[in-house]
Amino acid sequence: MRLKMLGALGVILLAAACSNTDRPDTSATGRAAPGSIQEFQQVVGDRVFFDLDSSQLRPDGRDTLTKQAAWLKQYTNYAITVEGHADERGTREYNLALGARRAQTVASFLAAQGVPATRMKTISYGKERPEVVGSDEGAWSRNRRGVTTLQ
């Protein structure tokens, strides 16, 4: 499912690349071009994960965000939206608030690393947009996430 989504994204970006040389795209060899959204997603890592009912960054998350910040400071041509998500084991309204808190945690970390706050927006999806549909910890742990998306 995830591969499929990335595939679809690739097609859209390929089309976009024809008219926008500022946004490098996957090269013919299939490797993400430097400065491309694919590179950000696949090489840098566009998401961090959270523990149950927590919006504290874990060490692996801090590493990912440190890399994100360095990349975003190098490629300044993207606007950034940080999405906060929760797993399905919470009520809808609380999870909207929790997602907002997670998105803010990510955005604050990136800002502290020198990414201008003016480039960043946050949005919470609560439990409305799981990455993995499933009712076990394997799915939940993938869904408790903050995703840095580029426009």
Binding site: D53, E93, L96, A97, A103, I123, P130, G134, S135
Partner: protein, 439 residues
Amino acid sequence: MSPRTTLRTIIAAMLALLIALPASAELRLRITPGANPPPMPIAIADFVGDPAGAQIAQVIAADLERSGLFRIIDKGAFIEKIVDPNRAPRFGDWRQINADALVVGSANMTADGRLQVAFRLWDVAAGTQAAGLSYFTQPQHWRRVAHIIADQIFKTITGEEGFFDTRVVYVAESGPGNARVKRLAIMDQDGANNRFLTDGRSLVLTPRFSPTLQEIVYMSYQGGAPRVYIMNVDSARQELLGNFPGMTFAPRFSPDGNRVVMSLERDGNSDIYVMDVRSRSIARLTDHPAIDTSPSFSPEGDKIVFNSDRGGSQQIYVMGSGGGEPNRISFGTGRYTTPVWSPRGDYIAFTKQDGGSFSIGVMRPDGSGERVLATSYLDEGPTWAPNGRYLMFFRQAPNARGQAGAVRLFMVDITGQNLRPVPTAGDASDPAWSPLIPQ
């Protein structure tokens, strides 16, 4: 035909008593919040006259059966065939099939194209008429008249208001779990007359009824920003409720319908605010780094119950409607969320997460008398019937592959008995019960 017009077109009149009421009515089911009495056996004869009469009897029977307080006697057991509903029935025939109550009636088209529906409720044991009313309406509103009659019967026998002439606004769901399409929809309490209010292009969540019935307040991701909107359900016209830099969510009307209490998120932190619907002036009620959300007014409008994790885990707190220091009222095991004050004021319903399951429960406004009414993998989002005796919520169980399965509406009464699904065409969540529709 808009419901507002409907209100004006249903005209009720008392029917002349055939046999005078005794000083104290005997046809009485004593109901308490603790446990239900055995269901009262009731016979409902097809209404004579227009073919709609049989359907009307069917809707009345389904309503009363759904309450859990009545047992509908099979029509095949009837001895007397009701030919003239304006004559006293042969009570012996009805006692013989153990009917405590008998409903008879008629449906007739009038010369000016209106439908006249009349019913009589008979106390079989006493041999007296307990209620009798006649209604005029447009023929297409026959279901509504049936619900009104069912409410009248419920009230006569239990002494409490019914819940049958009500509607439910909810979120109709379709599509895969990671890209759900959600549409606002509205239907009668029994699932009939379903109608969509939004087209599914924007994610919509948590609709709630105004006490004035014509309006709902809800959250939508329209334009890419999650914010609270207000909609007139007759015209489907919607309006953004205040324009704030952060997310607005978890809206709920005040009992007078003039204010909306909701959460406003700023820089990741959610606090509770109240907005005057007309002037759009806003006041902050909580100011805390914790998550404060899911606010709900008491029926008198003097208090607000809400959900906060300020103590470390999600619990239920009560504060004055102007804010101030809140008191925690939930102290059981697990996490407590989505508190909703009963329209009768005596209970607060909530969602509780404990171990691997979610429950719907009630507690007194001081936190005492906690009682769990329903439990499953996911039971969430209680909403009260206007009589404060029934609750609707949504339930989702994992499917055979361990993935999130069908999500459906359920109802349960305050005793925890009478758990049953509420029919919807497809997946459904976030139900909100309307007040009784004024006649």
